[in-house]
Subunit: 328 residues, 2 copies
DNA sequence: CCCCAGCACTAATACGTATTAGCACCTTGA
DNA sequence: TCAAGGTGCTAATACGTATTAGTGCTGGGG
């Protein structure tokens, strides 16, 4: 039953011109080819009448532009467990893509039978789009390198330092934001702090640690780093007055520490936002939506050829909260 | 810098065969073309040596399908306000798309400058995919009809009865689920019920009303339908013992009624799930994730040519809850 | 010695669009 | 009248792979 979708050749036949003419007219005549107004209108009318829609695959094969941006996530794009942290980014991505007239291709990472693979073929499929956003805590370096080497435009959401800075990214400035949290503690008189981080070496984790450690060092304040455990009584014996905890998608460290600290007189801050929401816990807000927007912006710049800064770190907004006490 | 990616022609040259041979060998020889083991190995070796990876764009142009499913939403795909009700559907869609090896195109509805239009051109663009899912409370009938008429595969998420049943859909059986809620009230002795519904004539609203009204009629129970207001004292004077409220994305009716009923001895049920979550409120669970999955399944069936049932209604899961009292 | 049946492979073409060189025609000015 | 220049359009080709009809070759049977 399916009538074939109309193509330029059909329009050409209807309007009594050649396929090339149709392409020129519909393409907005970028090539500077002369065309009479009369012909132009005839072609447009025919296209309208047939309900023509350009084939994006053919467009891309012929010209390497189809106004589609890829979105490759290393987990499901719509994850079930960490919805709260992914979602705002996606909102930003969609927002900006719409604003710039780009559609989005979600690569499901499926190569036919179910299993989600992130092998080279899967990643290379992103080339169907004009460019692609990548989003995930880790990087399959080899595959990404091949993409980068072919000059394919891509932007990571989140800071990356693999491939000696050849990966463009839009991330959050966790270093400064984390340092600011420590600075605040220091200004309120805390001289002995524990930092609980998770067992992950993604940049978002290491950046936070760096911010905390450097700020503590600058202030001459003691700050020991521990992982994923909360012997609160011991800490208090050691003279600790404040606990800072990393916040990741899993919330693992956060929950453990929060539970242990609750009801004590320890000050408490989180490097991000607590999963339960609210503004009472001291920390900072990651500008996820803005990250999504800027990533799209940068990607489109890469595609069109004059990118701004290839490595962007957006500032996080401090959340004062009420869980840090003045101990001066 | 960009060295050209190797193509089949390069392999062919290296192996001393034709491009067609390369295609046949690398394509796993689906067409039943005979090929000597020797040649096969030579080609594979050459491909390996050059690091060949097929160009997905060309692949998709040459074969008729592009293995992309469209997803057209009448609001932003990633809405900021109704995340909870949209999201599970998207999860299901992505899940099943991945399982069936399909990528997803999100139509941002952008025609250049920001504003989201749903004119014919916007909807027509969905044809760049092999088929498209539509998702929204209302239908731009004229535009959709044109699509349907060309035989373009599409599936609505949510029941639709426009175009005399020519629109395939996967929806939820709100009629039965709503009736079941009333049946439960009746079985607990309620003989006078108020139904508060919202001011919307989308199928999801009218179906709920129908279920409620019919169930009440069958049981010979009084059930008056009101819109969006909650004069609780008046109801109680009239002998009402239970209130049923529709639940939509806006939560408007729900919130009003819930607040008014709270603290009274009126029983209370919702035709869906309350926005605050939990399982204490009597109602039912809409199988959103499953709807997403099945919609994808049906769409792919339409594309490949042997669709099952074009109109599917999925059962909702009853949630007993504790807000309905036994008044026998 | 010829014919036919496989065998191993390839030429040709399709897919739908973009791009570019250039053709045929017209106008203008000398 | 002719060259120069302009106008409006098209032929040809590229993009990289899939598909199919067919071609040349070999060997075996008659």
């Amino acid at each position: 039953m399916t009538r074939r979708a109309p193509r330029q050749a059909d329009i050409a036949a209807l309007a009594g011109v050649s396929q090339a003419t149709v392409s020129v007219v519909l393409g907005g005549n970028q090539g500077g080819v002369r065309m009479s107004e009369d012909t132009r209108l005839r072609v447009l009318a025919a296209a309208e009448k047939l309900g023509y829609v350009p084939d994006p695959v053919a467009t891309r094969l012929a010209s390497r532009r189809n106004h589609m941006l890829g979105l490759y996530t290393f987990k499901a794009t719509f994850p079930t467990d960490v919805a709260d942290s992914y979602y705002p980014i996606l909102v930003g991505v969609e927002e900006q893509a719409a604003a710039l007239g780009q559609d989005l291709i979600l690569f499901t990472g499926a190569d036919g039978r179910g299993e989600r693979t992130h092998d080279e073929a899967a990643i290379r499929r992103t080339k169907i789009a004009d460019g692609c956003l990548f989003f995930g805590r880790h990087v399959p370096v080899a595959s990404i390198e091949k993409l980068v080497e072919t000059g394919f435009p891509l932007v990571y959401i989140g800071r990356r330092d693999e491939l000696e800075g050849r990966i463009p990214f839009v991330g959050a400035d966790y270093v400064s934001a984390s340092a600011a949290v420590v600075d605040r503690l220091v200004s309120l008189g805390h001289r002995n702090v524990r930092y609980v981080r998770e067992n992950d070496d993604a940049p978002s984790s290491t950046d936070r640690e760096r911010g905390v450690v450097e700020a503590a060092a600058r202030a001459g304040v003691e700050c020991r780093v521990v992982r994923d455990e909360a012997p609160v009584d011991e800490w208090r014996r050691d003279g600790v007055t404040a606990v800072v905890v990393e916040e990741t998608d899993t919330h693992a460290a956060y929950r453990a520490v929060r539970a242990a600290v609750d009801g004590t007189d320890l000050s408490f801050a989180v490097l991000g936002r607590p999963p339960e929401g609210g503004t009472d816990v001291t920390g900072f807000e990651v500008p996820r939506r803005e990250m999504g927007r800027r990533a799209v912006e940068l990607l489109v710049e890469l595609i069109t050829g004059d990118p701004g800064d290839l490595h962007q770190l957006l500032p996080c907004t401090p959340v004062p909260g009420t869980t840090v006490k003045d101990v001066r």
